[in-house]
Amino acid sequence: MQLQLNDREAPDDLRRRAAIAAGLVTLAFLGIVARLFVLQVGQGENWLTLSESNRMRVSRIAPTRGVILDRNGEALVDNRSSFDVVVVPEDAKNLDDTIRQVSEFLGAEPPTREQVIAAARQRPPYEATVIYRDVDFDKVVVPLETHRLEWPGIGLELGPLRTYPRHEIASHLLGYVGEIAPGELGSKPEYRMGDMIGKFGAEKAWENTLRGSPGGRQVEVDALGRRLRVLSEVPETPGRNVVLTLDLRLQAFAEQMLEGREGAIAVLDPNDGAILALASRPAFDPNEFARGIGPTAWKRLLDDKKKPLNNRATQGLYPPGSTFKIVTAAAALETGTVTPFTRVFCPGHMRYAGRDYHCWNRRGHGSVDLHDALVKSCDVYFYQVGLKMGVDTIAEYAHRFGLGEPTGIALDHEKAGLIPTADWKVKRFKEEWFAGETLSVAIGQGYVLATPLQMANVVATLANGGTRWKPRYVDRIEGADGSVEKAEPVALGDAGLRKSTLLQIRDALRDVVNLPGGTGKKAKLPTIEMGGKTGTSQVFRMTHQTKTAGMARHLRDHAWFVAFAPVDEPEIAIAVLAEHAGTGGGATAAPIARDVADFWFGMTRGRDYQQTGAGAPLREAALDPASADAEKHAARMAAAALRPGRVEMDDDVRREVSHRRGGAAGAASRG
């Protein structure tokens, strides 16, 4: 092989440049070695820790939330599984875009888009965040599968969902859960974005009991989050069940009695403050919140003029009207302002300081003593004794009955009500108290404000001999391990009333209902003596009382009735309030209280008790021998009667209910 010699050899300058290049190359590689030294020898330990945590992920095991049961074990709040549309941020290319596209496709606004995104950003990127709860699997699975490639990170997961099987029944008391708000996280380190938390009612008040504590699982994973093996596991502690003192049957019936009205009913056991029913209407469906309420639905509830979110039993403030005369009467007897024999002449009005104060009965009651004055609800009598005692004495006794301060029931935003004093007015309005204003206070008008629950507690205190119990709705707490924690009744104080005072007033209240001339005669039960007091509270002050159905609705009077039964050995205390009823407490509220009491005795007294009220047909169903579990059956009937078609029930129960409902209407019209 003959090679031609090339005359152009690599010259010196080329060799020189190659040497310079060698120097530069050395520098570059030295730089890399230095960098490696810093990374591997200098910071090696730190990176090692990071690599260890990299392969280990701590995943949380969410605890099962405790359920809420009524006193007979009926589920009021339960859990079930739901299909949720979730996003795994790590897999999603662009979180905002992906969520927007999915929501456009599903044609539904995600409940809280910003919150979903915030949750997804704050939690580990490998954890799924729920966008839509409780979707229809059949509707959603096909589109999600077809768009799997376009929407990476979107998937369907089976998750727990809080359900309220009775829908609106007891919604204000039970409350609801929702995803924790970003602002709450700071004060609650044990929660994370996207966690469910009680937001209202018992769900909120008993959050720590219901929630349980989450477990944890250390899992070794690869970069795709695929689980390789479980390194260690701390089991979760499920939440405990809360068993209420509430009776679902009575609750459902009470709400039925308020159907179509705005109002509240509180039924207490006067002997220990246990709440048997706490109804507020109109109500809402907590299921909407558990699924994640959309902004439109939320706004609709908030803007509703009838304020369905308001728990009227504990948050509604109303002048108690004549029901307050119980307090004035007790004060008058205790202070010796009157004796049972003190008589006052009622001409139908009373002139004081140049003004006429009317009795509701403008023809006058004639000569009345305390007993007559309560039975006929004579205003003039109470004007006179109120004037003699002064506002501060009335206030003192009002406080002894628990008015003017929250009852302490474990529900948020309970209102204190208002019991005015002379000092209060100076502080509040920078004005002296006028004696004329005491007249209004004596009959529960003017500045006096109370909640229906407070008024129920007033009669309960009277009925049980003077002990003021804290109203409570939890009977016991049952752990998953079988442990039972009984809730003890809490006595808040004693009204400090003489036996004779109590007997005097109770006797009068018995006659309010049971005497033909009593204002509460529509509350009369055939076989059990009930005591009660009517009240008609003015919303708008008028010089001459005109109670007409034609008046603007928001100006119409509220109707009150407070009651306890049986008079001699009280088992229940009831307060009924119907907003803007237009008619007096005796006409509107007393029959409701009667039916509620009648329903209660129908359930508790068995066949010996002759039930006559609107609830009678439902009780017949409860005592039907064909039913294996009569009590449960009755509860189902009561609930079903209220919301036909919305409570899960089998078809023959449904048929039976619709049949019974027809019967109920007939019974009511007969009475």
């Binding site: 092989m1 690599a10 190659a18 960098r35 490696l36 591997q40 020898v41 090696g44 990299n54």
Partner: protein, 373 residues
């Protein structure tokens, strides 16, 4: 003497050390590819490592083939090789296979070839030919840079179109390195210096004209830590892998970052992270030293080359190895942006390995024939 036989004198000048260095790197690479693609669930399946071994053998053959002829014949073949390379790159948009959004491969039955690698070698030879023929005594004037630029830009731009920003950059760096070796005139150096000085105040001006998202893109490119779930994810995982290797490493097949698939592109772009995690700082020193030895030994060949053509070819091949190695190491250790450059001789990839080894074969060729003429 038959044409195919090699002169005994040539064999005596064969640079065994250079070949041994290269083979060591390739062998280490193969072993690491095995680890990077090791699947504990299927411990007997290691197709990547087998393929890499096959490609390594093919590369060795290619290198020896490249020694078998007088490299000066390339001066005549260069235009043809260059044209063929361009044609392949041009045909990519039509016959190329798309892999993760980029057309870089031509599929030939069981194997795929990467035309950009062959194009690079063709460009090196073509540029060497040009500088060999065009050697002004006072060095290259600015106008002398026009032809090299016209030779470099077409293949570089075609690669950029694939898109493969990293490889296009390597084309430019290799061409620039060869131009500097060929010698620049004083005037040209001054001009480059002036241009560099002008560029410094230009950046803030450009910056103010960029839209926020454009700026953000540039910033995360330069500093991936700003986007830990996007581009920063790779760098952070790579740094965790390398750093956690410590002084001695976690042991072969025991790199958790690697075995648990936290590393992206673990057998190609980020193979150094796998290696460093398992072999530690000491292992990394060994590998970096091998690269340093390879480049040094190659520069010795450049210095001893009998002619300017040979020196320039050898320098071009070494510049390619050097730039790729430095950029890859800088990228995996988090010093440079992630641009998708593989570690030469080490990363998995058939046509790249074969072309690189063939290129080094040319260096061996030049070394062998340094005393012949």
């Amino acid at each position: 003497m038959p044409r195919w036989m090699i002169d005994r004198r040539l064999l005596s000048h064969f640079d065994v050390l250079l070949l041994a260095t290269m083979v060591s790197i390739v062998a280490l690479g193969g072993v690491t590819v095995y680890s990077a693609t090791f699947d504990p669930a299927h411990p007997t399946v290691h197709s990547f490592a087998w393929k890499q071994a096959m490609w390594g053998s093919a590369g060795l053959l290619a290198a020896l083939l490249m020694c078998s002829f007088d490299y000066r014949k390339l001066e005549a073949w260069a235009p043809l090789a260059y044209a063929a390379g361009l044609l392949l790159l041009l045909s990519l948009p039509f016959i190329g296979t798309t892999v993760s959004g980029s057309r870089r491969w031509i599929s030939l039955g069981p194997v795929s070839i990467q035309p950009s690698e062959m194009g690079k070698l063709a460009l090196i030879v073509m540029l060497a030919r040009h500088f060999h023929r065009h050697d002004p005594p006072e060095g290259l004037e600015p106008r002398d840079l026009l032809v090299p630029a016209l030779l470099t830009l077409p293949p570089a731009l075609l690669v950029l179109k694939q898109p493969d920003l990293g490889t296009a950059g390597i084309f430019m760096l290799v061409a620039a390195s060869m131009t500097v070796l060929a010698g620049l005139s004083r005037r040209t150096w001054l001009l480059i210096l002036a241009a560099a000085l002008l560029a410094i105040p230009a950046w803030p001006m450009l910056r103010s004209h960029l839209k926020p998202y454009q700026l953000k893109r540039i910033e995360t490119f330069l500093d991936p830590a700003q986007d830990p779930l996007g581009s920063g994810y790779h760098v952070i995982q790579s740094k965790i892998a390398i750093g956690s290797g410590g002084l001695r490493g976690k042991g072969y097949l025991h790199g958790t970052q690697n075995q648990l698939d936290f590393l992206p592109e673990q057998h190609t772009d980020f193979i150094f992270s796998v290696y460093s995690e398992e072999w530690g700082f000491l292992g990394a020193i060994v590998l970096v030293s091998l690269y340093l030895a390879l480049v040094f030994r190659g520069l010795v060949v450049v210095g001893r080359a009998k002619d300017r053509f040979g020196a320039l070819i050898a320098f071009g091949v070494l510049a390619n190895v050097f730039w790729q190695a430095v950029i890859n190491l800088g990228m995996t250790t988090g010093m440079l942006p992630v641009v998708g450059i593989t570690l030469p001789f080490f990363s998995y990839g058939g046509s790249s390995l074969v072309t690189l080894m063939a290129g080094l074969g040319l260096v061996l060729n030049i070394s062998m024939r340094r005393h012949l003429f």
